[in-house]
Symmetry: C2
Subunit: 140 residues, 2 copies
């Protein structure tokens, strides 16, 4: 069954991880695993110094600088398909310096981000549309 | 640490689910959760009659008919980040009628696909490049 926007936001808030899709000028598109927190109506995705990355400027940031459109998929998979659900948010994003509020929220959600300098930058995603689907009705 | 191609294929084979990214003519890109099986060096993604979908032709199929480029991300998330790993395959895909071999492989991997007419079509993805990353070295 389709999930309404309120239910979509409620489900992705505590989930905390998903797949970010951006547009690549040559190969069309890129997808990367990300973690995130919700700040009001925006999705905050950290660029961190915790999980290893290539030394070059991250492709996801180059992609967003050239075309800000992006999509986040939050997918709850289970071998029992009656437990499946997903939420997908289309929007656009910019890179931003980490604010104290954002760092605090990230630290609450992910203990690895409580270390100083663990988050070097943010992707701040503004949502244009959010849709979702669940095999089971929402318990609320 | 980076995973070589052999390790990438070995890890995604039994995993069976991931995120498929395709190019959308207007909004840039789409991502959908998918299940899959590996057949030699191709990734076989079923279009099924099991999980509900909108009645129209699936957007992922329209997207691929217009631009065959696509990407599959297989993401193993864990709250303990020492267990993180992911594999990403870039390639191109076409829609295909389900062959008996493909239906048998899907039925072995997913009991829900043993029912007649549960798989209506296939996305057959040919891989141009496959890369991966794991927080821990491969145990092999």
């Amino acid at each position: 069954m389709r999930l309404d926007a309120t239910t979509c936001w409620a489900r992705i808030g505590p989930f905390g991880h998903g797949t970010l899709g951006t547009l690549h000028p040559d190969r069309g598109l890129d997808v990367v695993p990300v973690v995130y927190v919700i700040d009001r109506d925006q999705i905050i995705i950290p660029i961190d110094a915790v999980k290893p990355k290539s030394g070059r400027r991250l492709q996801r940031l180059s992609n967003l600088a050239a075309d800000a459109r992006c999509v986040l998929l939050v997918d709850h998979y289970a071998d029992d398909w009656s437990e499946l659900w997903w939420v997908r948010a289309h929007g656009h994003a910019i890179e931003s310096h980490p604010s104290p509020d954002a760092l605090a929220a990230l630290g609450r959600a992910f203990p690895m981000y409580r270390a100083a300098d663990s988050v070097t930058s943010l992707i701040v995603m503004t949502i244009d549309s959010i849709t979702g689907w669940s095999a089971l009705p929402d318990p609320a």
